[in-house]
């Protein structure tokens, strides 16, 4: 039983990390109806930009390497880079493609993926880098000593960050003027346009927010596994979360992440050995697929009635 809980909790915590990436997808899909395949590349770009600045800033400013000042300046500069990326994306990709079918926009984001990957590695090089956020990835002793359950302090930290992020986003959507406008756009583009909400600004903002989420996700995943090209693969972990939770639901991303994380770990541990293991590559997808058969619009997705 101890092992079961260990796997379950570990899975839930991993799920939070998936949700963190899925969140970026949801934001963009919600506000612009674009399935942004470049989200994974954005995570990579953001994290690489961040560590890139961490490396060069001490040389530029003369500040202490690894110090707090450098950290925050790098964070701000990376965020600025994501905003620039959002503006450029809106101007050069989204605006010219407005009113195109969703699949065209989807394809454009795949093109964007190549662009962003090329730019990231072109600027910062292909070197694999480590990232230390100052939170040790070690078991929490209290849980170890009392329950013999292994929980990583870093994973708990990541979960807390995700929780804060989701809460902040919820507040942002609920209580700010921009947030309300965003929700209006999400509900109905035409209507939002007709009451004078500038769609372009909304798109830039939402892509910038998704860039911010990507930066946070990139920093956490980067601190976990290193900042390298493989960060783009985090997107593949987020996709089943997305279909389980629904493309348009922020809470769906979180709950979906938890379900996917926990069940894929349990499946790998308890089912994997019988079929040769490594089932984590497809299990989340099959799970989400099976789930969709009962709820085609995902856990929290909006039910769609065909009106004819």
């Amino acid at each position: 039983m101890q092992f079961f809980f260990e796997v379950l909790i570990g899975g839930l915590l991993s799920g939070v990390l998936y949700a963190l990436v899925a969140l970026g997808f949801v934001l963009i899909y919600k506000a612009s109806g674009v399935f942004n395949f470049a989200q994974g590349a954005m995570v990579f770009f953001a994290a690489l930009t961040f560590v890139g600045f961490l490396e060069i800033l001490p040389g530029w400013t003369g500040w202490e390497e690894g110090g707090r000042a450098v950290f925050w300046l790098a964070f701000v500069l990376s965020l600025a880079a994501m905003v620039v990326l959002a503006i450029a994306t809106e101007k050069f990709v989204l605006r010219p493609l407005v009113n195109q079918p969703p699949i065209t926009l989807f394809m454009a984001t795949i093109g964007l993926t190549f662009l962003v990957e090329g730019i990231a590695q072109g600027i910062w090089g292909a070197n694999v880098r480590g990232l230390n956020l100052g939170i040790a990835d070690v078991p929490i002793e209290y849980m170890m000593d009392n329950f013999n359950i292994l929980i990583s302090s870093f994973d708990v930290f990541a979960a807390a960050v995700a929780a804060v992020l989701v809460a902040a986003l919820a507040l942002f959507f609920q209580y700010t003027r921009i947030g309300r406008a965003l929700r209006a756009v999400a509900d109905d583009h035409q209507a939002a346009l007709s009451i004078g909400i500038p769609l372009r600004h909304i798109w830039v903002i939402v892509w910038a927010v998704a860039g911010f989420v990507a930066l946070v996700a990139g920093m956490i995943w980067g601190a976990r596994n290193g900042v390298q090209f493989a960060l783009t693969f985090t997107a593949l972990k987020a996709l089943p979360v997305l279909i389980l939770g629904g493309f348009t639901s922020v809470p769906g991303a979180i709950v979906g992440g938890l379900i996917i994380g926990a069940s894929e770990k349990l499946a790998e541990v308890y089912v994997g050995p019988f079929v040769g293991g490594g089932i984590e590559s497809w299990f989340p997808y099959i799970l989400a697929l099976g789930f969709l058969l009962f709820r085609p619009e995902g856990l929290f997705g909006e039910k769609h009635i065909d009106r004819v």
Binding site: L115, G118, L292, P296
Partner: protein, 355 residues
């Protein structure tokens, strides 16, 4: 002046229903096929045959497969490469385990295996639509590759999980040179493209498009959604499967399951988007474009920049230009190369008069 349909009146519906109703098109296509079947094998060198033409043809076939599913039947799929893998491994096992199995039958059987698997993974499409379905097809992509690695029978217990295509022999003639392999590929692809064209211009194709354009209305006029969608999945996967078998037999030779990865699926999706969604012709154009563009970039970018920048930057620049061109292309002509082709023809129809 040369490209005119004026004066070509159709006296029968039969004549009107031809694939290429305009005489010049018929001549053009025959010339094109003649060129690729006769002139190219004679004059093209090995590099063009092996590294460009054969893969372009094979990818065209896979793109036709995906186009049937996505372009005609409107079901977005990200698992084409996996169905190619099923075709390749299927054909390999038929060749391996049945003595005297004719090559062409083996690749068709490989295609049928892919069709069966395709139908299985197509079942959810009855409930799931759009991007949800697209992501769900990733289940096929990952599961199939996993199964091919895990179940060692598929690769005949090879220690490294790879299969090596057997020699191709048809009626005693060995297809071992680039010319003969190219011609064999061309034959299969052209025949299958023709069959695909027939399907899409008949009731089958109309049902697919009806389901794509408005599934409720399709149902109301008596089109069975399940049967139509599953037929699309079956035919599409069949095409991908045969393409996969050709990929193993006339192109790469020795293949591993991981070669049929998500990247390849995306590449095929690119081909139909760039070439033209819902166009058989576009599948060819798209495949050619996606195969040739990176090669052209790899040749010309270093040539233009030379030693000004490092080789890593050159490689990254290629990626940037590739991505940028895709976006640019989608903006300039969202309907793909096939549409440009059409526009070109319409212009030609008026040429040399401006109006």
């Amino acid at each position: 002046m040369l490209y005119r349909e004026a004066g070509q009146f159709k006296a029968s519906y039969e004549a009107d229903q031809q694939i290429f109703p305009i005489l010049q098109d018929r001549i053009g296509v025959l010339l094109l096929i003649g060129f690729f079947a006769l002139a190219v094998p004679l004059f093209a060198d090995q590099y063009w045959l092996k590294a460009i033409l054969i893969p372009v043809l094979i990818f065209s076939l896979a793109a036709i497969g995906l186009n049937i599913l996505t372009g005609y039947a409107g079901q977005l799929s990200l698992g084409s490469a996996a169905f190619m893998a099923v075709g390749a491994f299927g054909a390999y096992n038929f060749m391996l385990r049945i003595d005297g199995m004719p090559f062409l039958v083996a690749i068709l059987l490989g295609g049928l295996c892919a069709a069966l698997v395709g139908v299985m993974f197509g079942l959810p499409s009855l409930r799931i639509k759009g991007f949800y379905l697209a992501v769900a097809t990733l289940a096929a992509q990952f599961f199939i590759v996993w199964a091919l690695v895990k179940i060692e029978w598929f690769s005949n217990y090879s220690s490294s999980g790879v299969i090596t295509a057997q020699e191709i022999e048809i009626l005693g003639f060995a297809f071992d040179g680039p010319q003969s392999k190219y011609l064999l590929t061309l034959f299969v692809v052209v025949v299958m493209a023709l069959l695909a064209k027939n399907m899409v211009r008949s009731t089958t194709g109309r049902s697919w498009m009806a389901v794509r354009d408005m599934d409720v209305a399709a149902e109301v006029i008596g089109i069975r959604l399940m049967r139509t969608k599953l037929t699309a999945f079956a035919v599409s996967s069949f095409y991908c499967g045969v393409a996969g078998a050709l990929y193993a037999y006339t192109y790469i030779g020795t293949v591993e399951p991981e070669g049929f990865n998500l990247d390849l699926s995306f590449k095929i999706l690119f081909m139909i988007i760039i070439g033209g969604v819902g166009s058989i012709m576009g599948s060819f154009l798209g495949a050619a474009f996606i195969v040739l563009l990176p090669i052209a970039l790899d040749v010309f970018v270093p040539m233009l920049l030379g030693d000004l920048v490092s080789s890593s930057f050159v490689s990254n620049l290629q990626l940037i230009v590739f991505g940028g061109l895709i976006v640019f292309f989608l903006i300039v002509e969202p309907h793909g190369l096939a549409r440009l082709w059409q526009i070109g023809k319409e212009k030609l129809r008026l040429w040399p008069f401006p109006h």
